[in-house]
Symmetry: C2
Subunit: 328 residues, 2 copies
Amino acid sequence: MHILILGAAGMVGRKLVERLLRDRRLGNSDITKMMLQDVVAPAQPEDSGFPVKTVAGDFAVPGFAQKLVADRPDVIFHLAAIVSGEAELDFDKGYRINLDGTRMLFDAVRLVGGSYKPRVVFTSSIAVFGAPFPDAIGDEFFHTPLLSYGTQKAIGELLLADYSRRGFMDGIGIRLPTICIRPGAPNKAASGFFSNILREPLAGKEAVLPVSEDVRHWHASPRSAVGFLIHAATMDSAVAGARRNLTMPGLSATVGEQIAALKRVGGDKVAARIRREPDPFIIGIVDGWPRNFDASRARKLGFTTAEKTFDDIIRIHIEDELGGKFVN
Amino acid sequence: MHILILGAAGMVGRKLVERLLRDRRLGNSDITKMMLQDVVAPAQPEDSGFPVKTVAGDFAVPGFAQKLVADRPDVIFHLAAIVSGEAELDFDKGYRINLDGTRMLFDAVRLVGGSYKPRVVFTSSIAVFGAPFPDAIGDEFFHTPLLSYGTQKAIGELLLADYSRRGFMDGIGIRLPTICIRPGAPNKAASGFFSNILREPLAGKEAVLPVSEDVRHWHASPRSAVGFLIHAATMDSAVAGARRNLTMPGLSATVGEQIAALKRVGGDKVAARIRREPDPFIIGIVDGWPRNFDASRARKLGFTTAEKTFDDIIRIHIEDELGGKFVN
């Protein structure tokens, strides 16, 4: 099995690559080849046991996507995107990458033609939804994004469904919860603070909380996100029918509940490293974001999370990222 | 007030132009100038009382939309589209006109810049919805189009909302019911038969019914459609908030109920001109179409239909199109 990953150097991309290199198989098939794309060159894995090609380049440049699919990968993970904050600040860049780039990729697959019909796993986002919301957003709630990023993701979902319906590809779109705890350095996502306030204190550093403690949001660990991607790549897509975009399961929690979990797992001293510093720009964006979902359909189709409580989410971070230790 | 109409030579476009020429005003403003675009030259109106320019050309050719908006029209009606059947048969053409063309128009408006922020009225479609449906589709039901046409319209809605949110324009999208009775010759819309089976018999001609009589669908007269467009152009858009795309009110009726109304208004002899000839292509398309809506939000925002029964729809056709007479 030949796998192509767009956005392989991003946080979720790196986690997915790690998992695939460890498993050396996807579903019932041995992996025979991988191609990793990102705008900066993804790290070249060692001892993969099969050829892994890394490509640096902008997939929204005309002609680039054709090269990526020329080898007819069996599974394509499309994780590449301009994140929410940046797409809001740079209108043209957001549309060029998130809309045009996605369409170019899907068109490149379509234009291979013949019997070629790869599984395409597209990471959408809960930013396709916009307030006001019901208490828990169901699987048939409409898309009224309040960000250009969410608009672009919603358009990607529509294209994925139409290109799949017409037989050009076999797409599954998954709306990831906000990934918590994101490892590594903060990025430009407006949702970054949900992770910062846990990750930084566990590393002995101060973190800024730009919103109030009663902000409620929808979370899943990186481990869960990778599990969703693997399942989306291997599930029987026929059971999804024409409705190929799914809200992933997650955990609904307030910032206050996050901090309480941090206190339980890490202690008061760790939690005291959070500094409150309200930011009107972030508050404005987050105000229109979803808080809770009823992700029944995805659960029925076999998507499951690795965590039941926020304590689990913090423990998974300590286990997967910190070698079991944190700064007391 | 300066008005631009894209798709002015189409059925709804011509009706809208007639109405505007008759009123000579839109809302509280006198019309001072009109520009009418279509792929074939719209008819040059006589005695309009203000300058009317007609333009023939493909609005999805790069640079064309800029020319259309160079004069900074105050209101833009965007009615231009490749219809459902044709967009399904010609994938590239449908995406080029319905997606790229719409985006080029919105971008042309955006790139005028400065304080320019015209009202843009976009005709979307109930084809943004796909089966299975609830009994009556509510205002918050999700978009899962089962046609490329519906996909393209759903994308147009998302763009309209995002471009409006960002302040580039002041858009209102309206999902028109299927227009019944369409005057003139049949077009390539898969929904054409809903009108054909009434219009042709009233003109003394045979009509083909390609589906069964228990097919239920959602209708409004051309007179209502024009009323919706006028209201969308003049309403206070602030009351729509960020949710700028609305399902228009209509009448839910089965084909059998349409025929019963035809018998009541026109007599048995007229209704006997319908020939049953099932067409699997049309049956397949119509099978995934909506049947009934709860269009509460649009009604609350002032959109009202001209008809309460299918008898009204037929009478409006006889009045507006046939000079009050039909072939017995």
